[in-house]
Symmetry: C2
């Protein structure tokens, strides 16, 4: 994914996608996901990590509600990464992330993630390029660890909205009483750093793509949700899972 230019990638659904049809397809995918998630949990051999990144108002929360909201919460967990606490800052940046990694059988969703440590921190010059590269290397190795040593499939989604769509949505957060709780006075200030954010995202897609990113056109929620749900469906189908049958009693052993 070398030299990717986000501004050259459409933020909208391809022309041949019909909104109503796609919404119906999504419903049928969600049903299949529910069954496959149950199988994933029952088999407990694989784990799934879904990383959701995107600018403010790119639709991260809505994605989680609409794509994952109907699945059994026993096997589906969401971790929102906020500004690190003092305790978290006293450890390496992956410490809190590793703690939240999925157990076998689980789908773990990251609302923001370890990628913030090479995004917001870079835009605000809290780390230099050299440290950013070191963190990227550590991130690649960490993702490899989960993949090789815990059968974790990692799906990384960037919710790609246009700056115009973002502005629309931020304004709604002021005007719509049901959205005002999401408004943060930093939002518009951060939005002015759009170009800087695009640059660090592009860099991240270039250097942290051993486990590949999916750029999801996200101006239309129905298309965004369809892309993510169908990517997850394909992933689960690809695992070749079976119900394990009657268990023998196994006691843990070194």
């Amino acid at each position: 994914m070398a030299n990717i230019k986000l501004s050259a990638i459409s933020t909208r659904a391809p022309k041949d996608f019909d909104k109503q049809e796609t919404k119906e397809k999504l419903l049928s995918i969600l049903e299949k996901l529910d069954a496959l998630q149950n199988l994933l949990y029952a088999e407990s051999k694989h784990s799934i990590l879904v990383v959701i990144q995107g600018m403010d108002a790119s639709g991260k929360d809505g994605t989680i509600r609409n794509v994952f909201g109907k699945l059994n919460p026993q096997g589906v967990k969401v971790k929102s990464f906020k500004v690190p606490t003092a305790e978290e800052l006293s450890h390496d940046f992956l410490w809190r992330v590793h703690a939240a990694a999925p157990a076998k059988g689980e789908i773990q969703i990251f609302n923001r993630s370890h990628y913030e440590d090479i995004l917001v921190t870079r835009v605000h010059n809290m780390i230099d390029d050299d440290m950013a590269r070191k963190r990227m290397k550590a991130i690649n190795q960490f993702e490899q660890l989960l993949k090789e040593h815990n059968n974790t499939k990692i799906l990384k989604f960037y919710l790609h909205v246009s700056p115009e769509e973002q502005q629309e949505r931020l304004k709604e957060r002021i005007e719509d009483p049901a959205k005002q709780w999401k408004y943060n006075e930093n939002d518009f200030r951060e939005a002015k750093l759009w170009d800087e954010y695009m640059k660090v995202y592009e860099d991240c897609f270039e250097y942290c793509n051993d486990i590949p990113w999916t750029i999801v056109p996200a101006d239309q929620n129905w298309y965004k949700e369809y892309v993510i749900a169908s990517t997850l469906l394909d992933t689960l189908k690809g695992l070749d899972m079976k119900f394990p049958g009657l268990k023998k009693e196994v006691s843990p052993k070194l």
Copy 2:
């Protein structure tokens, strides 16, 4: 540390070490350690991870009591790694280890460690050579992460006893009422696998030596304790620490 042969390394103190003199030196080292640990905690810039490995009855518990027992428990923590629980087994093998990594300012002692995952597991054929290599690589990367991203100095000690000394000590566990609580019926069975254990330890010292191991002659407790305490002292002295002075009030910030 290529092609190390443990059987060729002495398990006893060098001839010029006098027991009484060394014990007195240890006391003076312990006093210095106490002051430096306080400084480490106050400065909260570096962290120390002490990994203690060794065969059964090689003196791991005694080391912890006699070398670290006098330090302030507020900044010194011990984690004993036992047979993994079902929850731990549902994650990658480094998950529980990373969770126990030291915060800045702390000395964290591992009584056994992530190395068990390439030692006992190999001797009992729970993993093959290919998986062992993969785990070794992951271990090296993990230790690098702590070093580069949390200023963690890692000290790795192998308590090197002779098989004869081990047999002596295991017999004491049966005979001495104050030691019987340590006796485990597996001890003698595991001791018979001595050669297999030496082989996997030697392999570990060869492949996981990016952050180097110290082989500690451990048949005499006074010498073992002296080596570990003085290694820790040298490490702390090398950190060039200062008391940070009056703090400005800093609120965490992304």
